[in-house]
Symmetry: D2
Subunit: 166 residues, 4 copies
C-alpha cells in the first residue's frame, strides 16, 4: 500500500496576520505528521502560508490551481497542478483530501466545507466557525472546531484513525 495520506487546507486567498500565522503552523504540523499538504496553491493568504509551513518542515506539498498556467503558484510547492477550471477546481481539492482543515475564509472556503461534508470528508475548522446551522446541514461528513494548529492536527489524526488511515 503506497498511497500517501492527504490533508487539504482551505481558507481565504486574503487573510489577516493571525490567520496566516495559524495556517503556517498548521502546515508545519501536517508535514511533521507525515501527511501530504494539499491546497489551492495560490501565492496568497492561507494557501501560501500553509504551503510555506509544510515546506519548511520538509513535507510534500501539492497545489491544485484555479489557473491554467504555473505563474500564479505558491512558493514551496512540490507539485503544481494547474486546472484552468476556476472555482470548479474546489471540488478536486475536497475529493483529493482524506481530511480537510478549514481556516478563516469566505464563499470559496465555505463551498469547500459544504462539499467536503457532503462527500463524507471530515472537516476540522481552525479558529473559524460558520455556525452549526450551516455545518449540520451539509451532509454525512463529521466536523469539529479547533482553537490551535496543534489541536487541529490531533483532531485530524482522530478522524483519520476512524477512517482506518492511522
Amino acid at each position: 500500500m503506497s498511497r500517501r495520506t492527504v490533508v487539504g487546507v482551505m481558507g481565504g486567498s486574503v487573510c489577516d496576520e493571525r490567520t496566516a500565522r495559524l495556517a503556517r503552523a498548521l502546515g508545519r504540523g501536517i508535514a511533521r505528521a507525515g501527511w501530504v499538504l494539499l491546497s489551492g496553491g495560490r501565492p496568497t493568504g492561507v494557501m501560501q502560508a500553509s504551503v510555506t509551513g509544510a515546506h519548511e518542515a520538509g513535507g510534500l506539498t501539492v497545489g491544485v490551481l484555479f489557473d491554467d498556467d504555473r505563474e500564479g503558484a505558491a512558493a514551496g510547492l512540490d507539485l503544481v497542478i494547474p486546472t484552468g477550471m476556476g472555482a470548479a477546481r474546489n471540488i478536486v481539492n475536497v475529493l483529493a483530501s482524506d481530511a480537510v482543515v478549514a481556516c478563516c475564509g469566505s464563499g470559496g472556503t465555505l463551498s469547500e466545507i459544504a462539499m467536503a461534508l457532503r462527500f463524507g470528508r471530515p472537516v476540522v475548522l481552525l479558529d473559524f466557525d460558520p455556525g452549526a446551522a450551516f455545518l449540520d446541514r451539509c451532509g454525512s461528513g463529521r466536523w469539529s472546531l479547533a482553537a490551535t494548529p496543534d489541536e487541529a492536527v490531533v483532531q485530524v489524526r482522530g478522524f483519520l484513525a476512524d477512517l482506518g488511515r492511522a
Copy 2:
C-alpha cells in the same frame, strides 16, 4: 439584445412534500415572469418539482446534469446539458444564473449558495435558512429570505432590477 434572463433553482435531490410543493409553485412563478428556469436537472426532489412547475406554465427549462448521458434527466426539460462532471457542475449552475433561488437542501445546495454569493449572484432563500453566520461570510452577493414562492419571485425581480435586468 437577445439574451434571456436565467433564474437558477437549487435544492435537495431528496425533499419532503412541503418543499416539493414550494419548488413547483416557484417554477410556475419563474415561468410566468418570463425567465428561463435552470436547475441541476435530475428527476428527483427540488430539481424535478421546479422543472415541472415551469414546464406546466409554459416556461423554457434548462437542466445542467451531474451525469454524462441524458437518461437521468427530469421530465419537462427543454434543454438537457449533460456534463459528466459530477459536483463540479454546481459552479456552472451558479454562474449561468442571473439570480438564484435556494430551496431546502444539504451540502450540494449550500455549496451553490456559497459560490453564488462569492461570484456576486443574488440569492433568495425560500423557506430555508442556513444562518447569517454562514450567509454573511460568503461574499459580495446579496441575499434575502422568502417565506413563499410569490415572495421569492418578488425578491428576485427586485434583485434583477438592481442588476439592470428588469
Copy 3:
C-alpha cells in the same frame, strides 16, 4: 416529450472569411431545421459566425463559455452559460449535443471531435479534414465529410434519424 434537439457547432476562435461564411450559413440551416444551436459562445470566429446565422434565422442559440462572466459572449445568444472552466467546458459542449458539426479549427476543435466520437456523438466535418488516421481511432461515434452547409445539415439529419431523433 419536450426535449429539444441540440446541434453543437465547433471550430476555430480565429478563422478566415471562407470558414466564417460557411459557419454562418450552417447556423441558418440548423435554425431552419428546428434544432437548437450550441457553441462555445465567444464573440469570434466560428462561434460568433454560427450564432449569427442561427439568430438571424430565428433559432434558439446557446453558448457555453470558457469564462466566468458574460462579458465575452457572442452577440445573438439566447442562453449564455458561463462556466469559468476554461477548456474543460469543451466536454460540456460535446455531451450536450445530439450531433456535432466541426468547422475548420485547431487543438480545441480537434479535442472536441475526439471526445464526441469517444462518447458516441456523430460528427459532421464541414470543409475540414483532420484525416482518417485520427478520426477512425477516436471511438464509437460515426463521422462524415461535408463540402457545404446544406450537405452538413442533410448529414446531421441522417445521423439524428439513426438515433431516433427525427
Copy 4:
C-alpha cells in the same frame, strides 16, 4: 525552487500486451530520470502499466481520476486525486504535465494530445501515430515520434531542456 518536473503518460484504458509492456518500461524510465509520473490513474491499460513501471523504479506517481472516490485507483499510486469530473479531468492531466508521452489509445487519448499541443505542452508519441494531418493542426506545442521507451525518454529530456527544465 522546489517544483518537481511532471511527465504525463496518456493512453488507452484498454490496451494490448505490447502497449502495456512499452508503457511499463516508459514508467521505469520516467522514474529513473527523476520525474514525477502523472496519469489518469485507473487500474487498467496504459494507466496501470505506466504506474507499475514508475513505482517499481521508486518514482513518485500521481493519478488524476475520472471518479469521485479512490476505489478505482491503480495500484502503486502515491497520490490519488479523485475528481468526479469524468472526461473533464483530461484537461487537468495535460495542464499539470511539463511534457506528455502518448501511448496507443483512442478518443480520450487523442483529445489529450490535442489539448496538450493547443496549450503548448510538448508531446512524444510512443509507438503511436495518429497522423500529421491531425498533429500539425493542434497548436503551438511540439511533437515527435518515438519507437521505444528509451527513445521517448531522450525526446522528453530534449523538450524539457528547451523549456528550461533540465
